[in-house]
Symmetry: C2
């Protein structure tokens, strides 16, 4: 193996598109699949091809979906909900969905405003959001963007957009995480927790 | 996304065949490919399919190869070499090849003897190895198996096999790794280094 077989070299290079996979792990993954699990590797190849070609976005909430409307948007009980939760990514939507505490609808931005990277309101589908707000069916918008600079800026932009329509705008509470220890919480989180304190 | 789109769920499940990838990282990988790099994901799918179907084993040394003979076995300068290096896996072969210090031929076991897992001499292609030894073209066999229990046991078995043929059998030196600190080297390595000491 002075030179690797071309198909193996191509596989190692291709594996590096995965997040957190460098040249060494790509080589280990490729060799391990060839040595021990060719059928699993072939299944993964087929699943990737099917998913990359077959998964589009929901026309209403922009989350990943194989149909025009995703499972939530096409659920009649949830389609009537007057609460719209705005999240930055499908993973964030999944995290909220897994709490089991939210029964409303979602709008998935698939990113945050970042003018330097060419991501403006259009790329986040905010025209589609404005249309949904204009329909008057939404009474509360929950801004569930990340508590980061980009997330806050995007939330601020969407909050301004909402002012034109008659709906309440809320933001996820910031404060101490469950199980956290005061001693190790960063200063700005602690400041948020203090200013947002509640009557016991 | 109370329930994920089936193609996405299948992709997440399929990604778990990769070593070191659990449910959380599989989800992150799938979503990141869909969000940011669909063309890379499609390329990876095609590369996996091509590699799993197109890569076989060299008929002579058993390493991964697309042709009947691998690049090393079909290199006339190396085919004449009288030194045969026996390694446990293609990754080990690659590691030795990368030192640039070895110009002989290889034999790749693709595993170690492990009767409990049903891996015996046949599974490691030792009949093929015996045939090559019997041809009389090999004067030295280097046992470059892992310095583990399985590797040592397999090396011992192959050394016995070699006794029937007229060839020298050697084993990779064991001792201190370059850059290691005596203080932190384990006892058995240090014992090997002591017993294998050389005149300065």
């Amino acid at each position: 193996m002075a030179k690797l077989p071309p198909l193996l070299q191509q596989l190692i290079d291709a594996l590096r598109v995965l997040p957190g996979v460098g040249p060494k792990s790509a080589q280990r993954m490729a060799l391990q699949l060839l040595e021990r699990n060719r059928s699993g590797g072939a299944r993964l190849g087929a699943a990737l091809t099917a998913a990359m070609n077959g998964i589009g976005q929901c026309q209403q909430c922009r989350t990943f979906s194989e149909q025009a409307l995703c499972a939530i948007c096409s659920d009649p009980r949830r389609a009537e909900a007057e609460t719209l939760c705005i999240v930055g990514s499908a993973a964030d939507q999944l995290a909220i969905e897994q709490t089991g505490q939210f029964q409303g609808r979602y709008f998935v931005l698939m990113g945050y405003l970042s003018p330097l990277d060419g991501i403006g309101p259009e790329q986040l589908g905010l025209d589609l959001l404005a249309k949904q707000l204009a329909s008057g069916s939404i009474s509360e918008v929950i801004l569930a963007t990340n508590p980061t600079v980009e997330g806050e800026a995007t939330a601020f932009y969407i909050a301004e957009l909402c002012q034109q329509y008659q709906c309440t705008v809320t933001r996820l509470a910031q404060g101490l995480p469950v199980g956290g220890e005061l001693e190790y919480i960063d200063g700005s989180t602690l400041a948020h927790a203090l200013s947002g304190r509640k009557r016991f």
